[in-house]
């Protein structure tokens, strides 16, 4: 089989055989039908066939025409000459047809009767020009003359006697041609030395174009056969002029059909045969033009398509009054559909808009269900989802790294605390020793001070990192800021006195409740007031006031700075930044940073302002109701 597939000669031979078989099958089938229609399978003979009548009628016509032509428009001399030649032609020596040509009323005009003869009776009415004739005659039982009757009888009898053989031959031909067709179809498209299906130039022609051309050529072939007679009137007519061109045309048609079958088989085997069609290519081109366009182009194209369809319908409406019943509902349906599609698009737009709002609100977890979105909306929705995922990831990473930092700081400070305990304790023991040396006492003082600072720094460091990452346990309850301010000032009375500053409280009589964690708020006040004590110019006042306004509670703490504050308030709140550049005073520089973080954790705001030497801290919380 493989050898056959790749052998051009074998395939050509098989193809020729196939064509021959097909012609045989066709011919045999036609022959069988003919014999059947003549009743050969029911015991019919030439005598009972329609063929004998056809031939006899043709004879009658010929006779009628010859007579009419002889008697009309000819002078007597010529008429006699023609009639004489007719008599010779239709004498019983040359013709098996015995007849009388009569007028309508029965007057015999011409006859070849020489003796009374029996046979198949034939009668025909003839209308030639304005004259009408009647022909009565017999086809003789003994076909002695070698005329049409004789030859057709010979052929008919021969065919009829072989009728069963003809059926068998056509059936076998059909069977063989179908089998051969299958074999050929499976072997088409292979070429020696090449893998897979090889397309010929013919197979590359777009299928619909090829089909159109094939149909056109077939139509032309059939039309061109118009002047020829397709059916032989007599069985001996096959060598007549008409049969050869018809046969050639038929063969050409069969070849064309075979070629079409072949190319279709090859295309189907090659795969995606529908893609090699002009229609598909046009649609693919349109689709590509459409899909690769921006949404603006799509809108423009769709808009013009919409206008075009409506225009077509308007034209139809005015040009064909009868289609009114069809065009109006179709137009309504179409425009309602377009409206529905527009609504759908707007709904999709809205869902994208919602997703955008969620993202901008910081809800990065939100994901749009893109399954229900169409075209560009889906792409856009997926993009939004990606943004959300990216942001979520970034936020998570950030939180993770902050938590890790806090954990690291906490662990490190725990580890520092143990050696620090020893230092603090042994410095204390040193202080208790009976040391007289002034220098040693001074050094011990430094150790004492610095170890205390180190202790404070370690604690603040942990607090600062925890406050910054929000890793603080909060117990939010109703807290009265006025009470808290009073309590804080009470705690700081001695330290204010030590620093020689005077506290002036304002507006602490009425309650100013907020929702907060009292202990954390105390840390905020503690840090701020501690700063006040450290950095206030002695002999000045510190003003502390609570104010309820516009649903907010504001605590303001104002003091006069000892040092010129030549740094910005933002810098002051950063970690490790201190009002005095020399950093000689105690403190970690984390106080304001912790205070700010803790305030913000409790949904409050913490702001600083510097106006010359006036240093102002403002804490604002939403009022609790």
């Amino acid at each position: 089989m493989n050898k056959f597939k790749y052998s051009m000669a074998a395939k050509a031979a098989a193809f020729t055989l196939f064509v021959i078989l097909l012609i045989t099958a066709f011919g045999g089938t036609l022959c069988t039908f003919y014999l059947y229609s003549e009743g050969c399978f029911a015991g019919g003979t030439f005598r009972s066939s329609r063929l004998i009548n056809t031939i006899a009628e043709d004879y009658a016509y010929d006779i009628g025409n010859a007579y009419d032509w002889a008697v009309t428009g000819n002078d007597q001399e010529n008429e006699d000459m023609y009639l004489q030649s007719m008599r010779n032609n239709y004498s019983q020596e040359y013709s098996n047809f015995v007849f009388e040509l009569k007028e309508e009323d029965g007057k015999v005009l011409f006859s070849n009767y020489t003796e009374q003869a029996g046979g198949t009776y034939v009668s025909a009415h003839l209308y030639i020009g304005q004259n009408s004739y009647l022909v009565d005659g017999f086809v003789k039982d003994q076909l002695t003359a070698k005329d049409e009757f004789y030859i057709n009888n010979q052929i008919f009898t021969a065919l009829s006697s072989q009728r069963n053989a003809i059926i068998a031959i056509s059936a076998v031909s059909w069977l063989l041609s179908v089998m051969l067709a299958l074999v050929l179809m499976s072997s088409f498209g292979y070429k020696k030395g090449k893998d897979g299906i090889v397309l010929s130039i013919y197979d590359r022609i777009p299928l619909d174009l090829l089909a159109a051309v094939t149909l056109l050529v077939s139509g032309l072939l059939i039309l061109s056969s118009g002047p020829f007679e397709w059916y032989p009137r007599y069985l001996n007519d096959t060598i007549g002029m008409s049969v050869v061109p018809v046969l050639i045309l038929s063969i050409l048609l069969i070849l064309l059909i075979c070629a079409s079958i072949r190319t279709f088989a090859v295309r189907v085997k090659y795969g995606k045969w529908w893609q090699n069609t002009v229609v598909y290519k046009i649609f693919a081109l349109l689709a590509r033009l459409f899909t690769n366009r921006s949404i603006i182009w799509k809108t423009v194209i769709l808009f013009f398509a919409y206008i075009f369809i409506n225009a077509v319908m308007v034209v139809l409406l005015f040009s064909t009054g009868g289609l009114f019943v069809l065009v109006v509902p179709a137009g309504l349906l179409f425009n309602t559909g377009v409206l529905a599609a527009l609504c759908l698009l707007v709904i999709q737009m809205r869902s994208l808009q919602k997703a955008g709002e969620k993202l901008s609100d910081g809800d990065y977890e939100f994901q749009i269900d893109t399954r229900n979105l169409l075209w560009d909306f889906r792409t856009h929705g997926e993009n939004l989802n990606h943004i959300g995922q990216g942001m979520t990831k970034a936020v998570e990473e950030r939180m993770k790294s902050e938590r890790f930092k806090t954990e690291l700081i906490t662990n490190v400070s725990h580890d520092i605390k143990t050696p620090l305990t020893s230092i603090v304790n042994y410095v204390d023991l040193l202080k208790k020793e009976d040391i007289k040396d002034e220098k040693v006492l001074e050094y011990i003082g430094v150790l004492d001070r610095q170890s205390a600072r180190l202790k404070k720094l370690t604690e603040d460091l942990v607090d600062a990192s925890k406050a910054a990452t929000g890793a603080v346990a909060m117990d939010l309850v109703r807290v009265d800021l006025a009470e808290l301010l009073l309590q804080s000032v009470g705690e700081y009375t001695e330290r204010f006195a030590e620093s020689n500053i005077e506290a002036v409280l304002g507006n602490t009589e009425t309650e100013a409740p907020v929702l907060a964690d009292g202990r954390l708020l105390w840390r905020v006040f503690d840090n701020v007031l501690s700063n006040v004590c450290k950095y206030s110019q002695p002999s000045t006042r510190v003003y502390l006031a609570v104010e309820k306004k516009d649903g907010n509670v504001t605590v303001t703490i104002k003091n006069i700075s000892k040092f010129p504050l030549n740094i910005t308030t933002d810098e002051l709140m950063e970690r490790f930044v201190r009002g005095d550049a020399s950093r000689t005073t105690e403190g970690s520089g984390l106080g304001l940073s912790i205070a700010k973080s803790l305030t913000e954790l409790q949904q409050g705001s913490f702001s600083l302002s510097v106006d010359g030497d006036l240093f102002k801290v403002m804490l604002r919380f939403p009022a609790y109701s």
């Binding site: 620090l420 042994y426 009265d480 808290l484 009073l486 309590q487 602490t508 708020l521 105390w522």
Partner: protein, 232 residues
């Protein structure tokens, strides 16, 4: 003469504590982890334990809970963790007090003395009707006297009235204004933190560490209260 067990894996800290305690006249025993501490407790008559939390072999929390199964002696935890949750955990498993590292030796000695006083006085006191007590604080209204772990504390009359008010309602939070109107019998409250100052002074007299009080508590933004005494 009291026997104190010092349990810490850091030898320098143990030595320092030993110096302090010995100088105050206590006899000290040393352990470097929880296991050793439990062994010593079984062999010697210990009156107080100083227990570090983070130790190898057996940590302070576990050791304390094991020790509590047998002994009623006071335990003071030494912790490097300053989170409230750790303190609460320590107190819940049966420690009597805690002190965070790095600690002040003076404060530590004060806590040791207070715990020993309370321990040795336990059960030996007959409470009279006019006596209010919370933790180590006892207020005898008939004698108008206040004692902390048996030691008399001298309070001013105003401070005494405030303490009495709070101790009569243990656990209840009084705002500055409420305390003022009840103690001063005056509603015209414009005192610029008078109550807060008094409370601060009282804490210095009644608490070992006034910044981290155990009895007289500040409820920030709400007022003050005496902790409901659930120990002794």
């Amino acid at each position: 003469m009291h026997n104190i067990l010092i349990c810490d894996d850091e030898k320098d800290i143990v030595s320092a504590l030993k110096i302090y305690l010995t100088s105050e006249g206590y006899r000290t025993f040393e352990a470097n982890n929880g296991k050793e501490a439990l062994l010593i407790l079984d062999t010697a008559d210990i009156h107080l334990v100083l227990m570090d939390i983070m130790m190898p072999e057996l940590d302070g929390i576990t050791a304390t809970s094991r020790l509590r199964e047998k002994y009623n002696i006071p335990v003071i935890l030494l912790t490097a963790k300053s989170e409230d949750t750790d303190k609460i955990l320590g107190l819940n498993i049966g420690a009597d007090d805690y002190i965070t590292k790095p600690f002040n030796p003076v404060e530590l000695m004060a806590r040791v003395k207070a715990q020993l006083r309370r321990y040795t006085r336990l059960g030996g006191m007959a409470a009279s009707h006019s006596t209010l007590s919370t933790g180590g604080i006892e207020l005898d209204d008939s004698a108008k006297s206040v004692t902390l772990d048996g030691e008399p504390v001298s309070l001013t009359p105003t401070e005494y009235e405030i303490l009495k008010l709070l101790m009569e309602n243990p656990g209840k939070v009084f705002s500055s204004a409420q305390i003022y109107s009840r103690v001063w019998n005056d509603n015209a409250y414009k005192t610029e933190g008078t109550v807060a100052v008094h409370i601060r002074h009282m804490r210095e007299k009644l608490e070992i560490n006034p910044a981290d009080p155990r009895y007289l508590k500040v409820v920030w933004g709400q007022g003050y209260k005496i902790e409901r005494g659930n120990k002794s």
